[in-house]
């Protein structure tokens, strides 16, 4: 049996791709959309901060 702690970079990339595909299958479109909306809420302060900074730079 192969040691699960010994692997190649290709193995890691393949496992990550499989995990992403599994996450893609696990949720319905409506559920994914809700996740995206929560992500948008989470980054909103950063987006607003970025906008404020670029507005400040533009007015300099």
């Amino acid at each position: 049996m192969s040691d699960p702690l010994v692997f190649t970079r290709e193995t890691v990339l393949r496992r990550k791709a499989e995990a992403r595909a599994e996450r893609a299958r696990r949720f319905s479109f409506a559920e994914k959309l809700e996740i995206v909306e929560r992500l948008r809420e989470r980054v909103r302060p950063f987006v607003q901060n970025r906008k404020a900074r670029s507005a400040h730079t533009a007015s300099d």
Binding site: A17, R20, R23, A24, F29, L33, E37
Partner: protein, 170 residues
């Protein structure tokens, strides 16, 4: 908008369409490919569509889109046969009681191949890597819609091996 004759048909496109097949990713806007009566044209006037939305209270613009239910929505007019096929061959997803047409996986990739920005190349790579698209159908569609040069550019810039056998590249 379809019911009131403001647009003829539509399909959800862009990153929101991509997440129908992939894991959820952050996106800030919603792209909608829309068709109108008559053949596709290079010059489109969206004034009637925006007036229609304005009359229903949608007056705020953000990121070149009109904000609907918190999403900046960008209307992209159909310009060619690829877009017409994207609408004709749309998948359908359910959101509550609504049945919403959404780009097929092949058209998500075709749109990314045509647009050709770095983030589009990442999306193509993801769809190939995770086997989210049928390769034989994609190969035929790239050829059908005249995207072989764009495909060559993707392969060159991404460093990917051509997944098609036989190759599309002469």
């Amino acid at each position: 908008m379809v019911r009131d004759g403001v647009i003829r048909n539509y399909v959800v496109a862009g990153a929101v369409a991509a997440i129908n097949y992939s894991e959820p990713v952050l996106t800030e806007d919603l792209d909608v490919l829309v068709s109108f009566d008559g053949p596709p044209s290079g010059l489109i006037d969206l004034t009637p569509q925006y007036r229609y939305l304005e009359s229903r209270g949608y007056t705020r613009f953000e990121k070149e889109g009109v904000v609907i239910d918190g999403w900046p929505v960008q209307f992209l007019p159909v310009v060619d046969d690829q877009d017409l096929d994207a609408i004709a061959s749309a998948d359908v997803v359910a959101i509550d009681e609504l049945r919403v047409p959404i780009l097929s996986a092949i058209h998500v990739v075709l749109a990314a191949i045509r647009t050709g920005r770095s983030k589009d190349f990442l999306r193509i790579d993801q769809f190939l890597e995770e086997r989210l698209v049928d390769l034989a159908a994609l190969r035929a569609a790239i050829s059908r819609f005249g995207l072989i040069d764009n495909w060559r550019t993707f392969l060159r810039k991404s460093g990917r091996d051509d997944p098609f056998a036989p190759s599309l590249i002469p």
